[in-house]
Amino acid sequence: MNVLEIIFYALSAFALVCAIMVLISKNPIHSVLWLILVFFAISGHYILLNAQFLAIVNIIVYAGAIMVLFLFVIMLINVKKDSEPQKQLFVKFTGVIAGGSFLTLFISLVKQAMPLVGKTVPLKEGTIGLIHPLGKALFNDYVVPFEISSVLFLSAMVGAVLIGKK
C-alpha cells in the first residue's frame, strides 16, 4: 500500500465521517461546517486525481461561495438549533433503510459489472485536469453549453430578484 492509497483511504474515511456528521449534528451551523470539510476532502480527492482546476473551483465555488451563502442564510433566519423534535424515529429508521438499500443495490450492481473489472484510476497522473487542456476543451467543443449556461444564470438572476424583492 503506497502513500497515495493511504491518502485515498484517509480522505475517503474523512469525507464519510464528515458527511455523517452533517447528518447528525443538531445545529445547522455545525452541519454547514462539516459539509465544508467534506468539500475539502473531495477537493483533496481531485488533487489526488490530478484535477487541479476542479479542486480549486470546488473550494472557491462550493466551500467558499455556496457554503458561505448557506451560512449567511442560516444566520439571517437565525435558527440556531434545529427546532425539529427528535421523536420521529420511524422516519429516521425508514430513511436509513431506504438509503441503505439504495447503496446496497448500487454496490451489488457495480460488483456485477464486468467491464469495470481491472479498470483502474491512475493517481497523480495525466494532464487533462489542468487548466490548459480544460480551457481549450471548454471553449472549443463546449462553447455552446458554456454560452447557454449564461441563460441559466440570467433566469436564476431574474428569479432571485422576483422572489427576493418585497
Binding site: 452533517v22 467534506v38 484535477a51 448557506f70 429516521k92 438509503g99 484510476v121 495525466g126 476543451a137
Partner: protein, 111 residues
C-alpha cells in the same frame, strides 16, 4: 486505484446525501444534503474521466480522452450555484411567511 473503490466511495457519499434528505426536516440541511449528492456525482465523474484517460494513454490514443467528464463537472457546479441562489431565495421567502423552515410544516397541500 481500482475504479470500484471510487464508485463505492461516491455511492456511499451519495447515499448519505439521500439519507440526509430523507431524515432531516430542516429545509436548509435537506438542501445541503442534495449538494452533497451532487458532489458525490462530481467526484465519480472525475474518477471516470481519469479512468478513461488512463485507458487512452495505455492504448496510446489521444491524451485528452475523458476531459468531457471534467467539463461536465464544471457545468454541474455552475448549475448548482444557480440552483442554490434560487433555492435559498425560496427558503428565505418561505421563512418570511411562516417563520419556519421545517419541511414537515409544508403539508397544507395534500391528498
Amino acid at each position: 486505484m481500482p475504479i470500484q473503490y471510487y464508485i463505492f466511495f461516491c455511492l456511499a457519499l451519495f447515499s448519505i446525501g439521500v439519507v440526509g434528505v430523507l431524515t432531516r426536516r430542516n429545509a436548509i440541511i435537506v438542501f445541503m444534503c442534495i449538494e452533497l449528492m451532487l458532489n458525490a456525482v462530481n467526484l465519480l465523474l472525475v474518477a471516470f474521466s481519469k479512468m478513461y484517460n488512463g485507458l487512452a494513454l495505455q492504448n496510446g490514443a489521444s491524451a485528452t480522452a475523458g476531459i468531457d467528464a471534467q467539463i461536465f463537472v464544471f457545468f454541474i457546479m455552475v448549475v448548482a450555484a444557480a440552483e442554490v441562489s434560487i433555492g435559498l431565495a425560496i427558503i428565505v421567502m418561505m421563512y418570511r411567511n411562516t417563520h419556519s423552515i421545517d419541511i414537515n410544516f409544508l403539508n397544507r397541500l395534500k391528498n
